[in-house]
Amino acid sequence: MEDLSWGMIIVKGLGRFWPVWLALAATFLISHRFRRRLGLYGKLFDSPVGMAGFAIVMFWVFTAFFADMIITHDPLSQLSGMKNKLPGTALTNPAEGAYPWYLFGGDHLARDVFSRMVMGARRVLQIAPAATLFAFMVGISLGLPAGYFGGKLDTLLSFVANLVLAFPVILLFYLLVTPEMVQTGIPIYLAAFLFIFPILFLTVLWNSRYFMVPARRNLYVGVTLVIGLWAYSGLAFNADPTGIWSMDPNLLNVFVSVVFVNSPGVFRIVRGMVMDIKARDYVAAGQTRGEGPWYIMLWEILPNARGPLIVDFCLRIGYTTILLGTLGFFGLGVSPESPDWGSTIDDGRRLLNIFPHPALVPALALMSLVLGLNLLADGLREESLKD
């Protein structure tokens, strides 16, 4: 086999993503047809910026989903003679049925840069949205009462939030994401504290709405508690008897640290919005009707704060991606073989002057994902402000 030219690399590379293109086309066709019935999501298709951002984000989501079909080689296997080879180099002695090229070249351990980048997307998209969601649960659960009740509770929570925000992020990561920290069990305590919030949130959410209809309330709260506590025991304490919910201790440490760093920011936004919204007439109407404070917070105030929260959610996933990359870049909490983008950049930078491609490919991938999320957030903001 001969080496590929730059044009052929692009053609072949784009070709490898065929499941992604199909899925992307289907998503856009369907969403565009029904855009008038899809609310804020549908309105996104009226804004070119939002559409571009959505396309980039969905590209990476589908890439992560179809990663097994896209990769050309095993992301961990090393093929002899492919060390630091330039993009498009043909394999020296390919095995039967193996893909005959390294599309984006080989890294310093002769692994395929292209496949590692694709697998890295899966790593990032497994952690970043989930961690952001947890941070939102924590931030909302604490920000609502702080903003609504005010007083001593607000002073205390705000002080703690400012404390975490005043910490330089990298210092916090260097203190929290270490093997010693896993030994002491602090990540487990933190996880036990942070992971309880989604359960609390959902329980209070159902209870405040349906406490007059006990049958329904019991069903919803019961399902939440059973699934929630089951997942909780597995994720936080690794004590799930069935073994479905479990998390590697290092991954748990990374996850918990990222949630911990992100939640004070969410707290501040939610608190500020609640303080603004609670002066509205519909809140006063609810209070006069005799609604409980949690009903007002969760079913009156929160839905009316959703616009800025959705925008911030998009931005924050991007920020979380950057944080995960930072962790990988400093080699914190990830296994050295891991294909995630941050550690691949760190691997590649040692030979950056001579062979830039192993570091450049994941760097551009990370940048495009974050850019997509930022554009999406911008589009959403613009569209949600229109009405």
Binding site: A166, P168, V169, L171, T184, T326, D346, V370
Partner: protein, 360 residues
């Protein structure tokens, strides 16, 4: 005003104490201390030897007391063994009678760095000096360009110029330092890729590369050649954010009544922007720039590691990676101090700059 400042300083002191205690707690966890004992004593120490080493060196006892000793508000520990008195405040080979009672960071005793084999204060001073030059250069590049970008795109909202500049600003906020640094090095400082080989071929540059990929030589002598890339890398990430804030505040000002009045009385657009709008539009960005310092600190750590520039960030990484407890504590004190002081300045400065805010 005075009571406001005093209250702010009080909260700040409380925050500083809480933060340093957290750092102290996290760096003095048992596994860290065990590692310290093994690296200072011998690697093959048994568990009881580790325990006695820690006991001899004052690493046992309640965490709060040790924190107090480190801070310098609790008398340093002393021990008598075989008639020889050792203690926190008694350097080896000096008379215990003349030693001071307190020796914490408040007394200027910052400890000894186990990685650099030097007093923490000297190492910290040197690295902060290097970082100060970097920060100065970053500020000189970042602030004017970000403000210009924001004002230009904010003065005519929705124009083509605004669209282009806003997209650029979004792109820079999506590019963390470790990405832009890698891209810059590949583009400008690689002898095999990017534009340097082309320029060298055309004879436009004398050396092999347009810029240098490491900033190690900048520690002795800062030149454009070795300092441009690190400065650009840090500045780029901040530019987008400040520019967006400036743009938001500029667009708000441009719709204000007094701008319309100025236009109606016949002032030119240029004069309206420079004389009337600019001053009010720059209040909000001032706070933003001040609050950027914690982020810049992140950027400094990444860029100094990437470009091998032995400043504050590089020192922090070395100290954290090698379990150098005293050094790491000192670094965090500096970091926390910088963050809190800039917050205070931004709060007070905002009140001074914005006459609409009155404090009782």
């Amino acid at each position: 005003m005075l009571s406001f400042v005093l209250r702010r300083i009080g909260v700040m002191a409380l925050t500083a104490i809480a933060l340093t205690f957290i750092v102290f707690y996290l760096t003095n966890l048992p596994p860290n201390l065990e590692k310290l004992a093994k690296s200072e004593g011998s690697v093959r120490m048994a568990d009881d030897a580790v325990a006695s080493w820690l006991e001899r060196n004052g690493h046992t006892g309640p965490m709060l007391v040790r924190y107090g000793q480190w801070l310098g508000v609790v008398p340093g520990w002393t021990r008598e063994e075989d008639g020889v008195t050792t203690g926190r405040c008694i350097p080896r080979g000096t008379d215990p009678a003349t030693a001071p009672r307190y020796c914490g960071i408040l007394q200027g005793q910052w400890g000894y760095s186990t990685v650099f084999k030097a007093p923490v204060v000297t190492m910290l001073g040197r690295s902060l000096g290097h970082t100060a030059w970097l920060m100065l250069a970053v500020m000189l590049v970042m602030v004017p360009s970000a403000l210009a970008l924001g004002v230009l795109s904010g003065m005519r909202e929705g124009s083509r110029l605004d669209r282009v500049l806003s997209t650029f600003a979004i792109a820079t906020t999506a590019t963390p330092e470790y990405v832009s640094g890698v891209v810059f090095v590949a583009l400008f400082a690689s002898a095999t890729a990017g534009i340097s080989p082309l320029l060298a071929e055309w004879g436009l540059i004398s050396g092999k590369t347009l810029f240098q990929g490491t900033a190690t030589s900048a520690m002795e002598d800062i030149t454009f050649w070795n300092f441009a890339l690190p400065v650009m890398t840090i500045a780029l990430y901040g530019i987008g954010y400040i520019a967006r804030m400036t743009r938001a505040s500029m667009t708000e000002v441009m719709t204000a009544q007094y701008i319309r009045t100025a236009r109606l009385k016949g002032a030119s657009f240029r004069q309206v922007v420079v004389r009337h709008a600019l001053r009010n539009a720059l209040i909000a960005p001032f706070t933003v720039i001040m609050l950027q310092f914690p982020w810049l600190l992140n950027g400094v750590v990444i860029v100094e590691t990437l470009f091998n520039y032995k400043g504050f960030g590089w020192t922090l990484v070395q100290a954290a990676g090698n379990n150098d407890i005293d050094m790491l504590l000192a670094c965090s004190v500096v970091a926390v101090f910088v963050v809190l002081v800039t917050q205070l300045i931004s709060d007070i400065g905002y009140v001074f700059l914005n006459p609409r805010i009155r404090l009782a």
